[in-house]
């Protein structure tokens, strides 16, 4: 019975505390004597700091301390960039926690006030006088890379932080020989991740023990500890980072921020706990954003729509500084996926990582892969239009045929397993594609603008082999570890180094253990998010937690099983090779009555009254799992839209998703990830985009202006799945966290362009706001 818990959509054990309001997120934690920090932020996008006079704030009510860059300079080390892409001429200019000489984006920290209440700290900020000398500003990443653009960092000519190139095959020849070439410039605006929980840090320094405890809204507490050590100088083993309940992250809680460093600094100076929690307006200014790509793309194809080449030049905005993982996003996680699910023999790309006067840009759900899928799916649709074929058929003829164990693509990577055509077929069938095209023809005859969009995708997840991480410059490993510890009563704890924050792995990890060892799922408790109580791990991002951390748990569970088998053999006075295992019971082959349950074994191992010669007491196993390859989930999506040509409004009427993430541990959770992922990708197609004006001011500075998807703007997402196991993963799982986001932006974009095609509209920049669509329609009508 119990083993069947693996693969079943049981409800989540996380939920009772969350639905009753009893969970503790960082800002909910109260320590006696806590002081509150507020951070003064630059109102200028680019300026020299000529003087900071904080004396006026010092005497304000409740104020305990005020610190500026003068105070932190030489005490806090700069914030490190941790993805140093080799061969890219990468520049890593200094990133001080508090700016002393120059600010490079609106929101750059200039001073901090610590007071008895946050209200008082905010009041005191108004009494700090800063003398700025404003400098010229550059916002567009392409403009920033041009000669004569304002320079953000003195030692970075043309603001180019790195240049990364990719070449496979002979792209020039492919284009020279091509019967058909298509091209476009695709702009992927900056996106604001918007986890509903704002970031927060609570630091408690104990001078007596030299220990720093940091409660932090992080997706990766062990990395946070590592970087806290680098920035504060507190030895790593004297730092405890706790990620309590974390309210979503979507990538924006991967990086280590100035704010955590400043909060820790304040606690260390004052010897009392200090808390800082960002307001949503601060989040919009300072928390890392996603995308900011200008992609100049060309595709070559035969007259029959067979793709022969892809060529790109990408300007990727980095913001004012390089955030923790920033350089890896538009390169390794982007360019290497240029082949997508297609056979494209010739691929080349050049990516410029460019400093510009905005918030730092880093991983945001999908991280590099949505940007790659967008350009690829846009090009495939343009090829289909150029050769006059149905976009689904052009996809089909270019898909890589089914493979079960390894397929090399021109970008130099090896996909694990794939059955892209089945995914496409399943999706077209679920959508009723032929009927949709017939309905579309009917609608067009009635003068209505109905569009159908299709996309196929493959993504790279399960990051990843640590050797590859090292080879591509990631300054850490990408393995995960787990400890499974059984207690005398047969209950177990599982300690993991990854740090789920909404993805439900407290449940799915327990399902893995239940499935492997036949224990009741409720007898397994999963512990994560505290560096003092969990083994080392690299964190939750890149759809890697179930894949990599789940594999570590599986390996550890199998070690438990082997020790249990040996102990059972000893207790049953049989040879280990005669012991069979089924459903939590170890029995002598042919004599099922002679058995020990896993609970019997746990008791006997813990009391250790009768252990075989040389066997250690206890029933505990740990495993470090370093994956042999990445995993490559894939799928196909279809969207149906209707555009109101009078206003430019887009009505998303249907969305059909078929995803293949390999083996599913909890299908209910998989489906939930697809729902959320799809909607997060619909956002940038239709509504979302951070806009900075020419002065580098964030125009979309709050939820009043930055349009997030809301319940009333969306249809139900029609979700189904296929299952092609990963050949190298112990459970065959691949990962599903980012799939929806990767696929849905181009699917919806293509649907809108399909709707507008009869009107002569060929391109509109995202997000497809009503005015932009309306203008494009009018321009096309006026022969533009």
């Amino acid at each position: 019975m119990t083993t069947r818990i693996f693969g079943s959509g049981i409800r989540r054990r996380e939920d009772p505390r969350l639905i009753t309001g009893r969970a503790s997120y960082t800002d909910d934690i109260k320590l006696p004597g806590t002081l509150h920090a507020a951070i003064l932020r630059s109102p200028y996008a680019h300026a020299n700091i000529k003087a900071v006079d904080a004396s006026g704030a010092a005497g304000q009510p409740g104020v305990v301390a005020v610190y500026t860059g003068e105070d932190t300079d030489g005490v806090l080390n700069g914030l490190p960039c941790a993805w140093l892409i080799p061969g890219s001429d990468l520049k890593t200019p200094a990133h001080p926690a508090i700016a002393k000489d120059k600010v490079r984006y609106v929101g750059d920290a200039v001073a901090v006030v610590v007071a008895e209440s946050r209200y008082q700290a905010e009041d005191a900020l108004e009494h700090i006088a800063v003398d700025y000398e404003p400098l010229d500003v550059v916002v567009s990443p392409k403009a920033a890379a041009q000669d004569g653009a304002p320079q953000l960092h003195e030692d970075v000519p043309n603001n180019i932080a790195f240049t990364w190139a990719l070449a496979g095959g002979d792209t020039d020849a492919a284009f020279a020989d091509a019967a058909v070439t298509v091209s476009d410039t695709i702009t992927l605006p900056r996106l604001i991740a918007n986890p509903m929980e704002p970031r927060s840090a609570l630091a408690q320094w104990s001078a007596a023990s030299g220990e720093l405890t940091l409660w932090n809204t992080t997706q990766n507490p062990h990395i946070a500890r590592f970087v806290t050590c680098v920035v504060t100088g507190v030895p790593e083993h004297k730092i405890r980072v706790i990620a309590p309940e974390v309210g979503g992250g979507f990538g924006s809680k991967i990086p280590f921020y100035a704010d955590e460093a400043i909060t820790a600094f304040c606690s260390m100076k004052l010897g009392v706990p200090v808390k800082w929690t960002e307001t949503r307006s601060e989040n919009y200014l300072i928390t890392t954003q996603g995308r900011d790509h200008i992609e100049e793309v060309e595709m070559a194809a035969t007259s029959d729509g067979v793709i022969t080449g892809l060529r790109t030049t990408v300007y990727a905005g980095m913001g004012g500084y390089l955030s923790t993982a920033a350089p890896g996003v538009p390169t390794i996680l982007h360019g290497l996926m240029y082949s997508g699910p297609y056979n494209i023999p010739n691929i080349s790309g050049t990516v410029y990582g460019v400093f510009n006067n905005g918030a730092p840009v880093d991983a945001y759900r999908g991280a590099g892969r949505p940007e790659a899928t967008m350009l690829l799916e846009r090009m495939v649709d343009l090829v289909a239009a150029a050769v006059g074929q149905d976009p689904a058929e052009v996809r089909r003829k270019n898909l890589i045929p089914k493979f079960e164990n390894g397929h090399d693509v021109a970008t130099g990577i090896t996909y694990d397993s794939g059955d892209y055509e089945s995914a496409l077929d399943s999706c077209l069938s679920a959508a009723g594609y032929e009927a949709l095209r017939a309905e579309q023809a009917q609608a067009r005859a009635e003068g209505r603008c109905v569009g159908v969009g299709v996309s196929s995708y493959v993504e790279i997840c399960g990051l990843g082999p640590s050797q590859v991480a090292g080879a591509v410059g990631f300054q850490g490993g990408l393995w995960e570890s787990a400890i499974i510890r059984f207690y005398p009563t047969g209950k177990a704890n599982v300690m993991v180094g990854s740090s789920p924050h909404g993805q439900g792995e407290e449940t799915t990890f327990a399902q893995i253990v239940a499935g492997e060892l036949g224990v009741d799922v409720d007898d397994v408790e999963v512990i994560h998010g505290d560096t003092d109580t969990t083994p080392m791990g690299w964190g939750t991002y890149g759809s890697r937690t179930t894949a990599v951390s789940g594999a570590a748990i599986t390996v550890a569970a199998r070690k438990i099983k082997e020790k249990s088998r040996a102990l059972a053999a000893h207790l049953l006075e049989a040879a280990p090779e005669d012991i069979e295992y089924e459903d939590g019971r170890f029995y002598v082959r042919g004599s099922p009555d002679q058995h020990k349950t896993i609970q019997d074994i746990a008791l006997m191992a813990n009391v250790a009254w009768n252990m075989p010669e040389g066997m250690e007491p206890g029933l505990e196993a740990s495993a470090f799992y370093d994956p042999p390859n990445f995993t490559y989930p894939f799928g196909a999506h279809v969207a149906v839209v209707e555009v109101d040509p009078e206003t430019g409004h887009i009505d998303l009427q249907r969305y059909v998703a078929v995803d293949d993430c390999g083996v599913q541990i909890n299908p209910m959770i998989v489906e939930g990830q697809v729902h959320g992922g799809v909607v997060q990708g619909v956002g940038p197609a239709l509504w979302e985009g951070a806009v900075y004006d020419d002065d580098g001011q964030l125009v979309t500075g709050s939820m009043l202006d930055y349009a997030l998807p809301r319940a009333d703007l969306l249809p139900d997402i029609e979700v189904s799945s296929n299952s092609t196991p990963s050949p190298h993963h112990p459970l065959g799982v691949k990962g599903i966290g980012e799939a929806g986001t990767i696929a849905s932006t181009p699917t919806v974009y293509n649907a809108v362009m399909d709707a507008l095609r009869p009107l002569g509209v060929t391109r509109v920049d995202m997000p497809l706001t009503p005015e932009k669509v309306w203008r494009a329609i009018n321009d096309a009508r006026n022969g533009g």
Binding site: R118, T647, M703, Y706, A707, L713, P770
Partner: protein, 288 residues
């Protein structure tokens, strides 16, 4: 998220509110708080003194009064949206109230607070102007009435004297046989009107006897579409007549066009014609 220091007074009566306003320089009235508090949280507004009129029972509720209804300034959007009296006498007002913000905002936000804030992207000022409502105010100098169309004097500016309190709004009944409608293009984030069009169309003997059409969101105050009204008068309210009338709205929008990153002034003007047309269509279909 952390307003600056204030001094707070809770007024027990309109007279006390007027007295508190008079004796505290720069004091601001607080009703539901849904216009003022968001500004205070971002420290875009920092009034030293707040006079809370939110508990004055006399300012709440809807009552019938000769030829129309009177709506207390503290009546919430939710109450207006569900009021039988409003639905009976001025259904377009209930229709618009249901489109304000979101349910929690409608529960706390009041019609008086909303119109006093004088945000042209609000729904109710547009509708009240179209309905020919009258705003009743009380101040140190006594009581007076201000026509809805004269109340907003500019972007976030109103005709109230510093010590005056808006107490109620008198709304004449939509004549029997007339149709009314409010059609809104909501901003996808803020839910305020990018463009809102209110129309009241009266029919007599198969032709339009009078029309009142007002557009919000496009200019700094609700804009009366006189050209549209003129074009409608005497027309048969057929599609061609409505098309022609709506197209005339451009001539009525010559003030201060508003535009932002989401919707430019040019786009708003174009949408004004579209939404006026849609409001006219809905109102005409309800007339008769």
């Amino acid at each position: 998220m952390f307003p600056a220091q204030i001094t707070y007074h809770r007024a027990g009566s309109v007279a006390e509110a007027v007295q508190l306003l008079s004796s505290n320089e720069g004091a601001k009235l607080l009703a539901g708080g849904h216009s003022l508090l968001p500004l205070m949280k971002l420290r875009l507004a920092a009034p030293a003194v707040l006079v809370d009129i939110g508990r004055i029972e006399a300012l709440k509720g809807v009552s019938a009064s000769g030829g129309g209804i009177t709506i207390g300034a503290l009546t919430t959007h939710a109450e207006i949206a569900s009021s039988d009296l409003v639905k009976q006498h001025a259904p377009v007002l209930a229709e618009a109230a249901a489109l304000v913000g979101d349910p929690a905002v409608r529960n706390r936000g009041t019609i008086g607070g909303s119109v006093s804030h004088a945000d042209p992207a609000s729904d109710q000022p547009t509708v009240l102007t179209a309905l020919g409502a009258t705003f009743n105010v009380t101040g140190q100098g006594g009581d007076r009435s201000i026509a809805a169309g004269d109340f907003a004097t500019g972007l976030l500016e109103n005709a109230l004297e510093e010590n005056e309190v808006l107490t109620s709004i008198s709304v004449p009944s939509v004549p029997s046989g007339a149709g009314s409608a409010y059609v809104k293009f909501p901003h996808p984030a803020s839910r305020y009107a990018v463009v809102g069009a209110a129309a009241v169309v009266a029919v007599s003997g198969g032709t339009c006897s009078s029309a009142s059409v007002v557009v919000g969101g496009v200019e700094t105050t609700p804009a009366r579409a006189s050209s549209v009204e003129a074009a409608l008068a005497g027309s048969d309210l057929g599609d061609a007549a409505l098309d022609a009338a709506a197209a005339a709205v451009g001539g009525d929008l010559n003030g201060d066009p508003m535009g932002d990153v989401f919707a430019s002034a040019e786009y708003r003007r174009a949408m004004a014609a579209v939404y006026v047309r849609r409001a006219l269509g809905a109102a005409a279909s309800r007339a008769g």
